[in-house]
Each structure stands twice: as structure tokens, then as C-alpha cells.
């Protein structure tokens, strides 16, 4: 079992390294497509974490939804719009620099404090018994979703419906109106007018 534990830890470290590395890369990269690929790496490593945590269903859904759907859309949009690399621009809001320093200081202080507090906390967290857990299985999640969480589930479905309608409205092609006018001579003037999303 020690070997298995060690193996698990090793995998964890590898995944964590992948996640953090990809995350940093995502922020650092100025090419959006690289950033997107880095983010996919993060998602996949997160899926690995979920597997380690005994949540295969969530892991699968993570890949399907994030990697398979959302990021595909993002990549698609990046390719469609042929997004350029970010150009460095002079910083326009100078006050952000001290704000950032201040925020970072606070963040570090809080992190240190929280780590200290957790270390001092008498609460002991049980180890995950991922191998024998029934929690992450499809059946338990399905039962939970359709009993206790039925209302949130349905609300989510309505939210998605709204998102579909909204996305279609936002992205649909501009409607072209043909305005036909007749002057005194009976001559017709046709004017094409584009009805854009922002004109609606």
C-alpha cells in the first residue's frame, strides 16, 4: 500500500506541476491560442485530480464540458476571428500598480494567516478513501441531482436554454432590410440597410 500511496502522490505532484505550469503559461502567453491550449492542459490535469479524488463522473464531465465543448468553442472563435497576439501597450491606469502591490501584500498576508490558522486548527480532516468511495459514481450523482437538487438542476436547464437563445441572438447574421421607395416619377429606389445586433 505504501507503494500505491507513493504512486498516488507522485501522480498528484505531476498533475499539480502540469496544472500550475499550464496555468502560468496561459497567463504569460500572449498568443490566445497557446493560452487556450495551456488551459486545456489545466483542465485535463484537473480531470486527473478528480479521478484521484474518486470522482470519475465529474472527471469525465470536466473533459466533455470544458475540454470538449467550451474550449473547442474558444479555439473555434480564436481561429474564426484570427486573433492577433496581444500588443504591449503603455499602462493607462497608473493607480493599478500600487493597488496591485497592496492587493498582493494583503493576499500574501491572508494566505500566511490562513495557513497558520489551519495548521493550528484542531479539526482533523479524514483522508480520502477514494478507492472504495461510492460518492463519485454515476448512480449516486444521478440520484442526488434528481432528488435533493432537482430544483437547481431544472433552473440550470432553463439557464442553458436562455444562454442558447442569447447566443443565437448575439451571433446571428445581420438582417438585411430592403427599403423600397417610389419617387414622383414612379421610379423605385432600393436601399439596403443592415440591421446589426447593436442597432436593435
Amino acid at each position: 500500500m505504501i507503494i500505491a500511496d507513493l504512486f498516488q502522490t507522485l501522480i498528484w505532484i505531476v498533475l499539480a506541476g502540469l496544472a500550475i505550469g499550464s496555468g502560468v503559461a496561459m497567463v504569460v502567453q500572449r498568443n490566445p491560442l497557446y493560452a487556450a491550449i495551456s488551459l486545456i492542459g489545466v483542465f485535463i490535469s484537473f480531470a486527473g485530480f478528480y479521478l484521484l479524488l474518486g470522482a470519475p463522473f465529474i472527471a469525465a464531465v470536466q473533459v466533455i464540458v470544458y475540454a470538449g465543448a467550451i474550449m473547442v468553442l474558444v479555439v473555434f472563435v480564436i481561429m474564426l476571428l484570427n486573433v492577433e497576439e496581444e500588443v504591449r501597450k503603455p499602462l493607462r491606469l497608473k493607480f493599478l500598480i500600487p493597488a496591485a502591490i497592496f492587493g498582493a501584500a494583503i493576499l500574501f498576508a491572508q494566505a500566511a494567516f490562513i495557513i497558520y490558522s489551519v495548521g493550528a486548527s484542531p479539526v482533523r480532516v479524514p483522508n480520502a478513501d477514494a478507492a472504495n468511495s461510492q460518492i463519485g459514481l454515476t448512480k449516486s450523482i444521478g440520484t442526488g441531482l434528481f432528488t435533493d437538487y432537482l430544483l437547481p438542476f431544472e433552473i440550470t436547464s432553463i439557464l442553458i436554454l436562455m444562454a442558447i437563445v442569447g447566443a443565437i441572438t448575439l451571433a446571428r447574421r445581420p438582417t438585411v432590410l430592403l427599403l423600397v421607395e417610389e419617387d414622383y416619377d414612379g421610379k423605385k429606389h432600393v436601399e439596403r440597410r443592415t440591421l446589426k445586433i447593436d442597432n436593435i
Binding site: 507503494i3 497557446y34 491550449i37 480531470a47 472527471a59 473547442v72 479555439v75 473555434f76 481561429m79
Partner: protein
């Protein structure tokens, strides 16, 4: 003597299974390409490759050697990293699904009682997962990146067009593909592919889901062909329009990876179809002679593979708008209808 629950032993066994499965499938795909060429040739009234080896049986080997030794050319303006990454994503995502397919029923290792003191039984699948079906969908969905990124990174108009088309097409048809499976899931009540295959063992091994889910099968079949970018949905690599689509700029082994990935995808999709709708390894006498299971399974897979080749030889290509209209306005509603029908019937007749 050996602790059968030793995780190292299990891991070793799984590695062995993965090795076997991968190699089997790779060999299968290699010869699938030969079969395709021969069958197409027959359909078109010509001979096909028959020079290398007996009946051309060594042709795939020759192809492989050619791929390996060809010069690997990359476009100068390509985005190198992604350009190289894309074929690997393709082949990885294609092969990764193999581990969850049930190749056969639960079997007992021959002579295991003699060696281990107790009969060692195991299902003929590499990894039996609770969420196997989702796993398949997840991994195949990652495959989109391979085509999209390949198209984008090549820095070529044809490639980009192919990549974009491919991405759009795969997103669209993945939807109806996933929905078509829900009928089966509703009937079986599990996502575990092995369990799904096991449940189809009644009726003398002929209680296949296709009899209960003809609509789902129909939708799945069409979406699967589209997912694998095969004729008549091969728009991403439409020769007549885009030279070779997303892999125009690829050559040598990188092209070979795409090529292999496509055939592996064909195979895995066929395996899924066989498992979900045609009973997988189930068939007459499987209960009595479990060893028959893999043969039944391979036979069913070959049936689907032949179907692919058949279609390629028969049907013309869709236009892109036809493709989209068909996917969104026909397949998706039909899949939804199938779900509703199945759910309704399930509520009335299967309510436990």
C-alpha cells in the same frame, strides 16, 4: 502464491491488456487500409494493391516503411509547437478509448487453478469503468483539437478551412451522437459498457439494443460517420475543394499519425456501435462458451467497418450547409424524439 489483489499485479495485467489492445487495433487498422483499398477497387471494377506480398498482404508494412523514411517537411510559417502537437493529440485521443471496450465476456484464465490455487476470472476489457461511456465521449471530444489545431498551425488557407469545417462539424454531430446514446443509457441504467454488453445477453444472446433503439442506432450511425470525418461527411479533407483539408501540409510520419488515428477512430466507433446496439460480444452460445465472445465482437466490428467502406464507395459528399442543416435540423430533433420516446416507454413499462 500470488496475491491477486496486489495492485502491482493488477497494474501489470492492465499494462499487458493495453499493450495487446493497442497493437491489435493498430495491426487491424493497418490491414483495414488495405481492405479498404481492395474493396473499393472491387467496387470500382479494378484490382487495387496486390503486388507487395501475397494478395498484397505486406502492403501496409511497405506503407509504414515509406512513411517512416519520407522527409518530414514542415511549412516555414507554421506554428511549430502546435503543428507537431496536433497529430499526437489525434492518435492519443483515438487510442485512449480502447481500454474500456468489452472485447469479451468474463472468462476464466486457463489453468489458473493449477498455477494460482484458485481460478482467476476477469472480464475481457482493459479497464472496467463506472463512467466508461462518458470516458469514450470525453476522449473522442478531445480529438477535435487535433484537426482544428493542425488546420490552424499549418498556416495555410486550405488547412484552416479544413480545420474550421472539421471543428464545426464535429461539435455539431457530437451533440446528436451523445443524445443518441441516451436511449441506450436509459434502458440499461448504467454507463458501464461491460454491463451494457452483459445486459444484451438474453434471448439466446440476441437481445440486442438495436431492436429497442432502431432510431437511436440510426442517429448514432450517421453521427459516428460524421464524427470520424468519413464519406459522405469528409468535408475537412475534401480533396476536390481543399486539396487535403487539415492535413494538407503534413507529410511523413505526422501524416501517418493522422491517417492511423482516422482508422483507429473508425474502429473504436464501430466497437462502440457494436457494444451498444449489437450486443457487443453477445451472441448464441456465448453463455456456454465465453471464448466465442471476442469473435462475435470482432465480426460485428468488421461489419461496421465494411459499412464504412461501402458507403465510401457509394455516396457523394455533402455540401457544407447541407451538412449543417442535416445535423442540426434533422438528426438532433430525431435524437431528442428518441430520448422522449424511450423515456416515456421506460416510465410506463420499466418503472421499478
Amino acid at each position: 502464491m500470488f496475491d491477486t489483489n496486489n495492485p502491482l499485479l493488477i497494474a501489470g495485467a492492465q499494462f499487458l491488456g493495453i499493450f495487446l489492445a493497442f497493437n491489435a487495433v493498430l495491426v487491424l487498422t493497418a490491414y483495414l487500409s488495405l481492405v479498404e483499398r481492395r474493396v473499393l477497387a472491387v467496387m470500382q471494377g479494378r484490382l487495387g494493391p496486390n503486388r507487395v506480398g501475397w494478395f498484397g498482404l505486406l502492403q501496409p508494412l511497405a506503407d509504414g516503411i515509406k512513411f517512416i523514411f519520407k522527409e518530414d517537411i514542415a511549412p516555414d510559417k507554421a506554428t511549430k509547437f502546435i503543428y507537431i502537437l496536433a497529430p499526437f493529440i489525434a492518435i492519443i485521443s483515438a487510442l485512449m478509448t480502447l481500454i474500456v471496450y468489452p472485447f469479451g465476456p468474463v472468462v476464466t484464465l486457463p489453468f489458473s487453478e493449477t498455477f494460482f490455487g484458485a481460478p482467476v476470472t476477469f472480464p475481457m476489457t482493459v479497464a472496467r469503468m463506472d463512467v466508461a461511456l462518458l470516458y469514450v465521449l470525453a476522449v473522442t471530444s478531445v480529438g477535435v483539437y487535433a484537426i482544428a489545431l493542425a488546420g490552424w498551425s499549418s498556416n495555410s488557407k486550405y488547412s484552416l478551412m479544413g480545420g474550421l469545417r472539421s471543428a464545426a462539424q464535429m461539435i455539431s454531430y457530437e451533440l446528436s451522437l451523445g443524445l443518441s446514446l441516451i436511449g441506450v443509457i436509459l434502458m440499461s441504467g448504467t454507463l458501464d459498457l461491460f454491463s451494457i454488453a452483459e445486459q444484451q445477453g438474453g434471448w439466446f444472446g440476441m437481445k440486442w439494443n438495436i431492436f429497442f433503439q432502431p432510431l437511436g442506432f440510426f442517429v448514432y450511425l450517421i453521427s459516428a460517420i460524421a464524427e470520424t470525418n468519413r464519406v459522405p461527411f469528409d468535408l475537412p479533407e475534401a480533396e476536390t475543394e481543399l486539396v487535403a483539408g487539415f492535413h494538407t501540409e503534413y507529410s511523413a510520419m505526422k501524416f501517418a499519425l493522422f491517417f492511423i488515428a482516422e482508422y483507429v477512430n473508425m474502429t473504436t466507433v464501430s466497437m462502440l456501435a457494436a457494444t451498444l446496439f449489437l450486443g457487443g460480444f453477445q451472441g448464441p452460445f456465448v453463455a456456454e462458451f465465453p471464448i466465442l465472445g471476442p469473435f462475435y465482437f470482432v465480426a460485428k466490428v468488421f461489419f461496421f467497418l465494411f459499412l464504412y467502406i461501402w458507403l465510401r464507395g457509394t455516396l457523394p459528399r455533402f455540401r457544407f450547409d447541407q451538412l449543417m442543416n442535416f445535423g442540426w435540423k434533422f438528426l438532433l430533433p430525431v435524437a431528442l424524439l428518441n430520448i422522449i420516446l424511450t423515456a416515456t416507454i421506460a416510465v410506463f413499462f420499466y418503472s421499478r
